[in-house]
Assembly symmetry: D2
Homo-oligomer: 374 residues x 4
């Protein structure tokens, strides 16, 4: 079991910006991570081992804590399903209420059940009022399919792994790549998993930050683009000898957070822009892909109950919202690419190898292009 | 041309409550009308005549003004399409922005175009900034099909009729029945058209009022229910000699307004409850029916532009919203029934007769039931 | 543990039609149950006991098998969320694809996880191609909150209870009331749970049948209506001495099945009519209620894979669909009322008593009304 | 008034492929136009003149005829609203029914009304059964805002312009650029308007073709990308002396057609991929932009009425749909770029100049990149 105090990134790997490549116009925050939005904590449980029967365990759990007591300090939230061949348990309620009231867990497809049960146990233990003074709670759990590398049928994620991810959640830098829920995941036939990026808004919105964290597991090699450059095609022959996924095209779960005071309605709209960012990296939102976006704002706490039926909240004026859209697209693209940059080669089920994105090639491609004035 | 200073109701007709029948638990406001929500004005242009060729004109325009300057003082808005075999031009933008910025016009199906054009002319004249300092404007126009009585192909609604409805809009009591956009309309094979009702919220929400105005044109006789009582079935034989609509099942446009500070997201949700109210009156939301709900809150004015990108607004706490749902259902049911109560028999196209709802029978049915303790 | 071979209905209870009361115009099928749609099987695991600590277990699992091999013989499906304060895990994929490929499980809120995990295990065992030749599978699991009577925190549903419900699923009559997932559930403050009803279509559609099964757990007493009659209000004083649910308004999951060849798009639309049926029984779709409808057609089997990329299917002509809408509303109302009719008094958590619907009173109310010509 | 028999493209301009640049992997059809889908006809009315007061008229109407009698031979249709700050009158019904039954008109924002009215007149004249044997008809009319160049307040589009576009509609090559509804439109601050492209599917789907036609009017210069290359940024300084749109970010209407037998549900899904294509060209779907996609399949004719309530249709197997998604993205990107390639400089309101996309620069940029192996 690998913990968040492990290296933040695989040995020998660097994040996209360390290659001298950046995406878009806005500056990233201090950590270039979703944790640049104050209050957000991320925790991973990473399972990389072989089980008793020698089957490869390449999976885990990632926990996103929107604040220190999300059940009592609920937040406005929204979502967009670009292609719904995936699952985010609890999303129906988030969309109905426009409110997030649990941490968000990310794991593999067959671990949605155990994550859901474990989060119920955790929350009901923390909050005795659940199911008594308050309604029962419905946890938010997103998934992607890591079965190409991971023995997903073994259902190796257990409750304790959920508790660990929740307990280890912290602010500051975020471990990326083959960690947490993204441990066994693949993007455009390169090893990927968890990635994150953030943007500092500017001008009138300069008080605000926006961050995206993805569990990225979609696409085919020839469609991969970095900042528009079709690197997947350019690198295609180099990897044509390797086996790759066929029956499935994976998925991506994207989580956007911001401290800008967006309403639920606005967060639904921002979520669509995250989808545009996914599309720019090369997704055609394949039939079998679960491309699901959830977004929340930490600005307005929605009281769980109150004597007063009315509460005051702030909102971004509709006509001021465009920079947030632009930043959301940028951060999404960079978060996905960071998930690739952070991951090393991984061997998994059936001894199959998923190669890392070759960073030297990427660097070379971009230095040539920059000489052309891009 | 009949004006709003004409009788508020057809001679010999009374509203539902004057029959001693009321629906639900909340009290209505002073006028039992959408105009009980402060600031709302309603205007009608009613066209009941024969044209030069002797064809029956039974149509008109109804204008709903959410406040005195809706273009500059925009309001949160939402919608729900129960069955979309109808048109509300401009609804896409209302749903996208969660904002209403024009009056709402109601007319017949083939007059959406002229109403839309006329409202553009009216608004661009009032607001020179439109299309210059501000974006172009997209008007909200809803329709139902009045072709069973009205010579709809004659397209008798003209721009001047739109301007007249806008100019005559006023607060206070609202003319109902065969007036405005509802002039030629039919509900459950009885003459109907415009109807309205309101509810005063109570308890913690007692500062707030909610009103519904419908242009009601749906359903078949045997499905009509008043407060659950299947009056349509009970009266069926009495009217079985009369011709009735066959190929179409009409539509209903419902407009809900409240001064409770509901967000766009909440107004979408309230709109679904209006649909439940429509269902209780007997609608099965027929394939050919356009059952479209739009809702807005007068509480928060959304600045058209501002130096500050953030504005403060109030919202109803999610857990306090149920009385609003209940009141929305009640008011919708009563608004529809009021559209029937207010309308007299009407003859129209092909000399067909659409009968009024027989109020004496209704009164008798309910007095019997009340003796049973309902 | 109570099995489906137990009595179909609690001792001394009868279904609505046995009271001489029927809803709507269409005739029910042989069993007046969702199983009148050929091929559908229903299985329950019912848990009524006290646990080791003396806490009351009043819960269970209901399994709906759309056909004998739903994973390989996938079906068109649709859904509608009237109010989404609930969970149906897997619904995102059903809505995206318009396809149902797993059984549907119904249980309590905190058992979604275990049901999901158990169904994954069951399906991957039956179909070795899952996750290999085919994508991983995402199960469909719906829930309501039974915590007023049941020790929901005890999470008493285990995998074996899921397997049992699946194994016991059978065609023919369906056990109703306090069985399966509905064991501890309550509707309008009376004991309810599972209910079902069916309708035989007629005229041109006479080859087809439609059935609805509900796990009904919504509402407050004063809103209950049977065929429009406000029985909840009329019976209110009789039960005013009893404690009832306060902080929650429960939920309802409704499953509609038909052998009419409806497309996914049409099944979405039919699902909205099921919501209208829920509304007619008295639901205002409370903020805290999860009123979720799923619908499927057994007519067209969608090949899991095929050499040919095109397949032929049948569809109901859009203009012929209204009887299906009407029947869906009727069957939904009757299914909900059947869930009440079939249930006896139940004591549960904190020794609270949930009373059965008093059938003698209902019978009396309706016989009086029928004397008035309803 | 310029007609379709005018040059297909502005003098001195060429389509993207004539620059040696192509987008994506699939081959285009014979005309690289939506008309490669058999049966589709396109007609334009182009208005480029000054009105009596010397105000610049730069607008028009484009008509898309899905087949020769769309009212009787209705087609499956779907839609997706990426950002709804725009209008497509009639879309509510298309989305509800999943059926298209009128031609599609494209014009400027303030001409939706006149286009709607004129299309009603045209259709009711052609089909006396409308409003008698059949329901009334609701036309589909999409719009973008051309007010930067065009005197939109003048409302210069008249009924006769609609009739002309309908009458002139033909198969074969399609005039692009500053024609029809796109006459006064702008994309990423370059002159644009109407553009189109098509793709021949291959493999098992090789019998099928897909085409996209856009009325493109969105974006800001610095966001423009062609096949991922940020040409907008690279060309930014060259045009920084020119005035450009500020208060508005325009819109785009995209129409996708295919003869692959897609269901309504599938056409909704394909429409989302058109949105991804829009995003790849640089749209962030700005708050004020109406980015609306409508899609239809010519394969299955849906009978308007029939003695049999069931009809047989074909559908693409869900697992075979990915190439259609990929082709939809490609064709959308190329259609947008073609709208830019086909347009010359245009002067309009206030003597403002909107520059053409500098094709020589584009050619040079791409030839440099191709030397790098892209």
């Amino acid at each position: 079991m690998k913990h968040i105090d492990d290296p933040l990134i695989a040995p020998g790997r660097v994040r996209l910006r360390e290659l001298g490549i950046s995406i878009g116009n806005f500056s990233p925050g201090k950590w270039n991570a979703i944790t640049d939005v104050p209050g957000i904590k991320i925790g991973h449980t990473t399972l990389i081992t072989d089980d008793k029967e020698g089957l490869p365990v390449r999976t885990g759990v990632t926990a996103i804590l929107p604040n220190d007591n999300i059940y009592m300090n609920r937040l406005n939230a929204g979502a967009f399903v670009l292609n719904g061949a995936g699952e985010m348990s609890g999303l129906i309620q988030v969309q109905e209420w426009g409110i997030l009231e649990t941490p968000i867990l990310l794991s593999n497809t067959y671990s949605v059940g155990v994550c859901s049960s474990a989060l119920v146990k955790d929350l009901t233990k923390r909050h005795p009022g659940i199911g008594e003074k308050y309604d029962v709670v419905i946890p938010v759990v997103g998934e992607c399919d890591d079965s190409w590398l991971n023995d997903i049928r073994g259902m190796h994620v257990r409750s304790e792994h959920v508790y660990h991810a929740l307990a280890k959640a912290q602010s500051g830098p975020v471990a990326e790549g083959s960690v947490g829920g993204g441990t066994g995941m693949i993007t455009c036939d390169f090893k990927a998993g968890i990635g994150t990026s953030s943007r500092l808004l500017d001008g009138k919105l300069q008080a605000y930050t926006l961050g995206v964290l993805v569990m990225s597991n979609f696409g085919i090699r020839e469609e991969l683009r970095i900042d528009g450059v079709p690197v997947g095609k350019m690198l295609f022959n180099k990897f044509s000898h390797l086996q790759r996924r066929t029956n499935s095209y994976g998925s991506i779960i994207a989580v956007l957070a911001t401290n800008a005071p967006l309403t639920a309605h606005q967060l639904n709209r921002v979520s669509k822009r995250v989808a545009l960012g996914i599309g720019r990296v090369g997704s055609h939102a394949a039939h079998g892909s679960g491309e699901i976006v959830i977004a929340f704002s930490t600005a307005n706490k929605i009281p769980r109950s109150s004597d007063a039926p009315i509460f005051a909240m702030n909102a971004v004026l509709d006509s001021a919202v465009n920079p947030i859209y632009q930043a959301a697209i940028e951060a999404t693209e960079e978060a996905i690419i960071n998930s690739l940059c952070a991951s090393s080669d991984m061997k998994g089920r059936g001894n199959k190898l998923c190669p890392a994105l070759p960073l030297d090639d990427i660097k070379k491609i971009f230095s040539e292009r920059s000489s052309l004035g891009e």
